[in-house]
Symmetry: C2
Subunit: 232 residues, 2 copies
DNA sequence: GTGACAGTTTGTCCGAGCGCAAACTCTACG
DNA sequence: CGTAGAGTTTGCGCTCGGACAAACTGTCAC
C-alpha cells in the first residue's frame, strides 16, 4: 500500500476535527481507488464491506424499486463520505452508486470502522452529523414531493445541483457533470418528457440553456423565483 | 427529582446494550414528563434543548412548509428515542412533535448528551443506528412518492401504521391511536378528499372499516396486495 | 338535551402532467 | 465518414386526482 498524504483529507469536512496524527492513523487503513466514468462503486443489496470518501469526480446514488424503476437519491461530491451503511448498522448497501465522470475515492474496509472509532471518537460524531444532514435533506424532499407541483420541484432540484456542483461558465452556472433529463426526472418523480418540456419553456424565457447531458442556468435568481412562488 | 426505575428503559431498543449501572447513570440525568393529548412536545425551529424517549402514548411529528401546509413525517411509538436533533449537530428542531393521545416521556437536557456519550460510547452507536433507520425510511418514502400512484401510497402508509402501532380487535387490526383522513393525506401527499374516497372504496370491498378518527383493517393481506400490485 | 364543531362523505368539474408515439440530433465508434 | 444509438423534443389524448361545494354525523361542552 502506497503512503497516502494527509492533505487528501483536507477536502473532507467529516475529518476536519482530527489531529494530524489521527489522520495518519485513519489513512493507514485506507487505499485509494479509481472509478472510471460509468463504473459501479457499490451495488444496492450487496454486502456493505467498504466505506468511502470521494476525492475527485462525481457519483450518482440511485435506488431501484422492486418494479425496476429507478430514483436518483443524490449526487456525491468530492470530500463527502459515502457508503456508510455499516456505520448505521446495516449489512448491505441500500442503494447503488456509480461514477458519472472519472472518479477517485479513498476506500476503507468496513471492518476497520470499530477500530477507528475506538481511537477517534470524533469520527462517530462526524458520521452522526453526516447522516443527520442527509435525513434532513430527505425530509425536505418528502415535503417537497408532497406539496409542490412538478415545475417547482424541478427548479428546486436544479438549484440544489448548482449549489452542490455548480461551475461558473461564460454565461451562467452549469452543472459540473453530465446529467440527462431522465436523471432530473428521476430526482423529482416525473418523466423525462415533462422535464424536457419544462426546460424548453425555461430556455424560451432565457432562464436556462440546454444541451446534450448539459444544463446551464443563466438566471439563477429567476429560477429561485419559480422555486419559491407558492402557486403561480 | 424522583428516582426512576431501570425497567423504564426496557422498552427502548436504543438502550438495550447498556449495563444496569449505565442505565442508572443515564436515568440520573433524566426526568419524566406527561404530555396530554393535543399538547406540543417541541416546536419546529425552537432551540433543541432536550431529547426524549417515549414511554407511553403516541406522538405525531409534522413539518410545516413555508406556505403553511403541513406534512406528517412520522409517528413516534413507545420505546423510541426522538427529538435527537442535537446529536445530529443541529441547533433547532426540524419539525414539531405533538401528542395524539396522552403520553409520557423521559426527557434529557441536550447538554447532558456529551457527558452520557463519554461514559457510554454505545449510545453514540445507537443514535447512529436510529438515524440510519430513519434515513432509510425517508428514502423509501421518497421512492414511493416518486413512483407510485396515490392508492398504493395510502395502502403502504396504512400497512406501516399497522406494523408500528397495530392493535388487534374484534374483526381485524386497527391503528392504535386516533387518526384522521387528513392525517393520512398529509402522510401520503394527497388531500383528505382523495383519502376518504379511497377508504370508502376499500370499505365497500370489505378491506377496511372506517369510523371517526379510526381505521380498522379487516383484510391486511388484501391491502398488501393493493400495495404491491405494480399498476392494477 | 341541544348546539356547535370537527371530521367525514360524496358529487361535479377541470387541469396538470403522464402515456404513447414519432421525429430529430448529437456523439461516439468503427 | 457514415452509421447506430443514446439523448432530446414535441404533439395529442386522456386520466388521475385536486379544487370547490355541500350535506351529513358523531362528539363534546354547557
Amino acid at each position: 500500500m502506497s503512503a497516502l498524504d494527509r492533505s487528501l483529507l483536507d477536502v473532507a469536512p467529516g475529518f476536519a476535527t482530527l489531529t494530524g496524527e489521527e489522520i495518519d492513523l485513519v489513512l493507514a487503513h485506507a487505499r485509494s481507488l479509481r472509478y472510471p466514468k460509468g463504473s459501479t462503486v457499490f451495488e444496492q443489496g450487496a454486502a456493505a464491506d467498504s466505506f468511502f470518501v470521494l476525492l475527485h469526480g462525481h457519483l450518482q446514488v440511485v435506488k431501484l424499486t422492486p418494479a425496476g424503476q429507478q430514483v436518483v437519491i443524490r449526487y456525491v461530491v468530492p470530500g463527502e463520505m459515502f457508503g456508510i451503511a455499516v456505520q448505521m448498522g446495516r449489512q448491505s448497501y441500500p442503494a447503488t452508486a456509480q461514477a458519472v465522470i472519472d472518479s477517485l475515492a479513498l476506500v476503507w474496509p468496513s471492518s476497520a470502522w470499530p477500530t477507528l472509532v475506538a481511537r477517534c471518537p470524533a469520527l462517530a460524531e462526524s458520521a452522526l452529523h453526516i447522516v443527520g444532514t442527509r435525513l434532513d435533506e430527505a425530509h425536505v424532499r418528502v415535503v417537497e414531493m408532497a406539496t409542490e407541483e412538478v415545475e417547482r420541484r424541478v427548479a428546486h432540484a436544479l438549484l440544489r445541483l448548482l449549489k452542490q456542483a455548480g461551475r461558473k461558465v461564460e454565461d451562467g452556472i452549469e452543472v459540473a457533470f453530465p446529467i440527462t433529463r431522465e436523471d432530473v426526472a428521476q430526482m423529482t418523480g416525473t418523466t423525462l418528457h415533462t422535464v424536457s418540456r419544462i426546460l424548453s419553456a425555461w430556455e424560451a424565457r432565457g432562464l436556462v440553456e440546454g444541451g446534450r447531458q448539459r444544463i446551464v442556468v443563466r438566471d439563477p435568481h429567476g429560477l429561485f423565483a419559480i422555486a419559491e412562488t407558492p402557486k403561480a
